[in-house]
Symmetry: C2
Subunit: 409 residues, 2 copies
């Protein structure tokens, strides 16, 4: 009955809002909660023309330009939906109670300057994920399909786009249409073939440019920032018509949700998870041709500031991930934790196994999804995969923009 | 006398290296230090062809592919400069003692895959900094000058380049020559004029595109990753021939070393520094035209994992930097800390004050250096500044490459 009421009546009426001033703190009773609000907290949310540029809502004042030791002069509730506050410097501000409540109960999701905002959250998966594939033509022509793909990349971290023209360089055009391109010293793209990559000024070598099998890894953990999303376009590729491996084509690709693997590890051992998320290891690269050096230090698992959420996985045997010298006890635990992460990641049931069809672009979150490929036999048909990186920032921007266009307010 | 000896004699001879095995730990006595080494730590440094690709030195094995519970079978010093270790799985590795010692005493600076490596460290400055300026022609034609500029950007975080053709778009060509370009949803560049920017598909508004004064800030803290370096190219600009302000031109630019300001704050109050480096605030933007939303949460000061070094400053009143609701005691301390940071940053003696000459490009580290500009009077001459962002990663790459070319091994 209560839930019926809360659906039918405006929320504010369930409990009368009230405000109480004592000393420098303001107590706001709202929707059954009591909040203690600081004068500067409220003042930095003032949207009057003395506080913000009215066209963009951007604050005008720097923190030191607010009066020192400012506090409340007066506070009252107007019309059951507005808080009015007078500050000791003579300024008065009004706030919508529902706006304050939204921010007080979910700080991250309720910005002030943008009118609306949604941010898709990662949803974990194992080897039984059904890889969603999209038709290139639909993505170009249909904003709803492009929104769907964008959301898929931000939630599952992986998607397959099919029937893309098998043209040199088109993978970067595709990335620029979805987000912004992350160029590196390799140039806007790189070529994965069983030969050094000559896309840039020199021939660059890497384990990926041999026929050797490559274990599960994320790309370029030696870069800061590490590239967000990776795109791999099969320009030339053998094909078994969905029944890989076949006689003429045995190379397979594997992808694994690193966030899921981290969660498996955490369930087995919080201590192992803590070690991999706190000890920075050294990732390295010699520039591909030995003419430079890129070196970073990151823990394998990057957590949010409150440690509650995982934000990135960095894992790549070929990039070294050299651990510092630890005490014998810590070292034993650290190497056990890393071994277990690697073991869990490589358990076949956690991997999505696939083979490219010529013209496919596989897109995946390079700070989350580990990828691998099997050995390439010398008698396999030609294989030329062109890759590039794109930014998550641009995907967030595109998601919010497309969401408003397709789904409205 | 000791120091003379240590200069003249090979270091290893000062104390005879020795190795001792007991249980699973190996004790290495080296150069007066004693190190306890874990078997997996040593094994991941093995450079034999069973362990690494000999052309790139990239490790071949994933962590779970090393034997479980592997330990030492045997260890000995060969010829005073080599450690030989036999592991219980039958594998034997050799290590140069000087290489091990370098990494054990300075883990960050001694990578394994790159043959050499140097990373310039930030050097703090206040308002008495003499801004180093470079001639564009020299940067294009002389690798030593380009190395010098690159090192300046990585140490001081700011430099001025003069006599650049006043051509639309050339700022991005300059950035691509120095590093890699960071494109955003605004496109490869943006235009700072007293009118909305129409460089992209729509007219984008921002406080910067008005005549209003803008306080000290870093750009785009609402992006993740936040752009590393900013370039501002004065395409059209009034000029007072070095005696700014003058009658026809009063707009001034200010830059401040945010790392220096953070250090001033830390010296005054470690507690204030800790609050600004631990409480994430919410940065926001509406896309410039209200059609999207970008929202991030970062603390104002970003520290390294060991909390010993500052890695980024994010500070921008116009990007909101809204604080979460804190307890009354915490809120009072937090707002006091932020006020003080803002106050210190805006003290004139800490700022380098300058005015563009037409054709200048000012380059600065956008995760370190705060910038501001004064009010632009309506009667000032035309002012058109074109800006873009570039990556630090590409500067690190360029520095190491140029260093080897210009200064040798």
């Amino acid at each position: 009955m209560i839930s019926m009421l809360s659906f039918l009546l405006p929320r504010m009426l369930l409990a009368m809002p009230a405000v109480d001033l004592s000393q420098s703190s303001l107590q706001l009773s709202l929707d059954g909660h009591k909040f203690h609000l600081d004068p500067y907290w409220l003042r930095e949310r003032c949207l009057s023309q003395l506080s913000v540029d009215l066209s963009t809502l951007q604050p005008l004042l720097n923190p030191h330009e607010l009066p020192m030791d400012m506090t409340f002069e007066n506070a009252s509730i107007l019309g059951n939906d507005t808080l009015q506050v007078a500050f000791t410097d003579g300024h008065t501000s009004k706030y919508q109670l529902k706006t304050l409540l939204a921010e007080l109960t979910d700080f991250r999701s309720n910005p002030i300057q943008p009118a609306q905002y949604e941010r898709p959250r990662p949803s974990l998966w194992s080897g039984d994920l059904q890889l969603t594939s999209y038709n290139h033509h639909d993505i170009i022509t249909n904003e709803e399909v492009r929104l769907n793909l964008t959301e898929m990349l931000l939630t599952k971290g992986v998607a397959l786009v099919k029937k893309i023209p098998k043209e040199h360089g088109i993978v970067t055009a595709f990335a620029k249409n979805m987000s912004t391109l992350r160029t590196t010293d390799w140039g806007p793209f790189f070529n994965v073939r069983v030969t050094p990559d000559t896309a840039g000024k020199t021939a660059k070598q890497d384990l990926a440019y041999t026929g050797k099998a490559i274990g599960l890894h994320t790309d370029n953990p030696y870069r800061d920032p590490t590239p967000d999303f990776q795109l791999l376009h099969a320009l030339e590729h053998c094909s078994c018509n969905g029944k890989a491996p076949c006689d003429g084509c045995s190379v397979l690709n594997y992808i694994v949700d690193g966030f899921y693997i981290a969660e498996l590890l955490r369930n087995e051992s919080q201590e192992s998870y803590d070690l991999l998320s706190s000890i920075p290891v050294r990732f390295e690269n010699n520039g591909g041709d030995g003419t430079s050096a890129l070196v970073t230090m990151f823990p394998h698992l990057e957590l949010s500031h409150d440690k509650k959420e995982i934000q990135a996985v960095r894992f790549s045997a070929k990039s070294g991930q050299y651990a510092p010298a630890l005490s014998p006890e810590m070292a034993a635990k650290f190497y056990q934790a890393r071994r277990r992460f690697s073991e869990l990641a490589h358990q076949p049931e956690h991997a999505l196994t696939m083979q490219f069809e010529p013209g496919d672009i596989l897109v995946f979150d390079n700070r989350r999804v580990l990828h691998a490929r099997s050995h390439i036999p010398a008698n396999d048909a030609a294989r030329w995969v062109q890759g590039c990186y794109m930014d998550r920032d641009g995907l967030w921007y595109a998601f919010e923009r497309l969401r408003r266009i397709v789904r409205g307010a």
